[in-house]
Symmetry: C2
Subunit: 379 residues, 2 copies
């Protein structure tokens, strides 16, 4: 009977209409019923990416799309630059090392926001022709200005991990000339995990080397998608859900969804600060995806999360890496409204109180509503 | 309102309990709720594979597991042998060529059954240390005796594509000393597409080179699975469905499921022959997975399939490659019983009659029931 509340920054809650589409009876992936869904899904992905270039769809985790970028763009020994400011930047670096690229790391402390001009000059110094970066670093809540980054790095090919940001913060693939943008289904796209995407700007196609991956071969994937087929049997039920979810997102409007996420972040921060807690993620409107928070002195973050989950059915996310003991995160990506934030804040308040933390009680939810700018009736 | 009937040999029909599991509200993949499901699913996979060695689970199409075998076992330039007797043998060959292995093809005509002793002597001649083969060649309906094949090739590492056969025909991974067996969720495992598996025999682990794929890295995947985690966010909803589906399969009993598939194949062939049609797949009990049938002279197979789909809502599968114009296939993999075969045969009879084919009418369904050995009440 106990209700469950999910504030993980991926997988995120899935709307009932999407779950229902996931559960429709199976159809053949080459039949006309599915082809129609597939064609529409690919078109909607282009709308959400805001690109005329192909968006390739893979049956895989988001990491699969990241893998496809490394294996389709780069040859062994090639000089590349990787911006590392958290766990997902580390993943780019690990992957580039795995594929024996010559990696120039551009390191920032976890929680710092990479500076586009600094990055660009480090890239120039390194001699790298391809740059891997992260739009929303889910481990820290930091969102990088990828428009400025592309302007700054100029002719270098810029590959953006937008797994947790696509649909939550502004991303203009074509207008900002982003070369490659990878994403996944299980964040702001409000779907279960299992689908990954990569947009590949038209000018790149003529100079791609042959893919180092068979499964993630961009050219083979594009050829299949051009006739609304998939290179290999696609995840039919997940794609049907994605079709519905993208429809919901476009119905709300992409700009409106980004505005909503921005206000959800604002509301979360206002509530957290009203409680007297310290933010780990930046205290500005760029923090629209996930809010990272320091636990008060003497409070063990993993203990707080375990209590909330076991006693109250509320799942928040732990800090990653070295942040684990004293940082926790509230994801507000995808299918969230201000009432969800009220639940998350109320849960944090209850959990901290139970652990004996000295916090301001009874003010967080009101502060959140005020920051969200939803009028609350006077008492 | 029109009902739909799916006889594709993948994706196959998904039982309602599995669809319902696919549609459960999202949970975090590292929370205890999901961990329990994941642990049970991995254990059940071992039972279905009949192996004590790890079965690695990937969020990908079945081809992803094939890719993992090539990239984790072989180095560029390595001599390997590939048994090619249909579209999926061709896929092994294409993939091995893509990864720049030195490929010795062992070719059979599509529809022929590879002979284990012949294959073994070709392997010895080739000097290959790794052999790629297909248990159930879905394009032709031919099932290879992989137990005999392993005995014959001896010390060579044998990699078996069991995508369409696992759960439908006997497969004793450990007893037959099969080195690597890859499969997928969307065939006899009765799930939507999007999950792929590979069992890797214990003795291989010590001599694996480093993986050429990051996403499909066997060692990293094993390390994560040993603590019931996944290397990357797994396809949570599909895994929940797989847990339920494997439970159904094990509840029926693996031997019983294989016996059922054998009898479904027998029933299908009996019905087809009673109509006066010619089988393309072998007319013996090995043809338990999919039945391939030649259309009568003058009847275009794609036209028959289109009519059945558009007029009657019945999806059969086309012939692949050169077989397209005059072969069609009835899949009976996974969630099928004899009444489904009655539908498929009745549909073929109706479709061929509408196209003016001279066939024996009114006898196929009765012949199928008789061959299945289900008593039909006397009139």
């Amino acid at each position: 009977m106990r209700k469950s509340y999910l504030f993980s920054p991926g997988p995120t809650p899935v709307p009932p209409a999407v779950l229902a589409a996931n559960a429709e009876p199976m159809v053949h992936h080459r039949g006309p019923d599915f082809r129609e869904v597939y064609e529409r899904t690919l078109a909607r992905l282009g709308e959400v990416y805001r690109t005329q270039s192909p968006v390739l769809l893979f049956s895989a985790s988001g990491t699969g799309a990241m893998d496809s970028a490394v294996t389709n763009l780069c040859r062994p020994g090639e000089r590349v630059a990787v911006v590392v400011a958290g766990a997902f930047g580390e993943r780019w670096a690990k992957m580039c090392n795995h594929y024996e690229l010559d990696v120039a790391r551009i390191d920032y402390a976890w929680g710092e926001r990479p500076n586009p001009d600094e990055v660009a000059s480090a890239v120039r110094e390194s001699g790298a022709g391809v740059v891997f970066a992260t739009q929303s670093e889910t481990s820290t809540g930091v969102v990088t200005d990828v428009q400025a980054l592309k302007s700054a790095v100029g002719d270098a090919v810029l590959v953006i991990d937008a797994v947790s940001s696509l649909g939550a913060v502004p991303l203009e693939t074509d207008e900002w000339s982003l070369d490659v943008v990878v994403s996944g289904s299980q964040k702001a796209l409000m779907c279960p995990p299992g689908l990954a995407m990569a947009s590949v700007a038209e000018p790149l196609w003529d100079r791609l080397p042959s893919s180092r991956s068979f499964y993630f071969d961009w050219k083979a994937t594009r050829r299949a998608q051009e006739v609304f087929d998939a290179a290999f049997t696609p995840a039919v039920s997940l794609i049907r859900g994605l079709d519905v979810a993208l429809g919901l997102l476009l119905e709300e409007g992409l700009d409106e969804a980004c505005e909503r996420h921005m206000r959800l972040g604002r509301a979360t921060r206002a509530g957290i600060k009203a409680m007297g807690l310290e933010l780990f993620s930046p205290d500005d409107d760029s923090s629209a995806v996930v809010t990272a928070i320091r636990t008060p002195a003497g409070i063990d973050a993993p203990r707080l999360l375990r209590d909330l989950r076991e006693r109250h059915g509320v799942t928040l996310a732990p800090g990653q890496g070295a942040l684990k003991p004293d940082v926790f995160r509230i994801g507000h990506i995808g299918w969230f409204d201000i009432f969800d934030i009220a639940v998350a804040l109320a849960a944090v308040e209850v959990g901290l109180t139970e652990l004996g933390a000295e916090i301001e009680r009874g003010v967080a939810v009101g502060a959140a509503f005020e920051a969200y700018e939803l009028p609350v009736a006077a008492a």
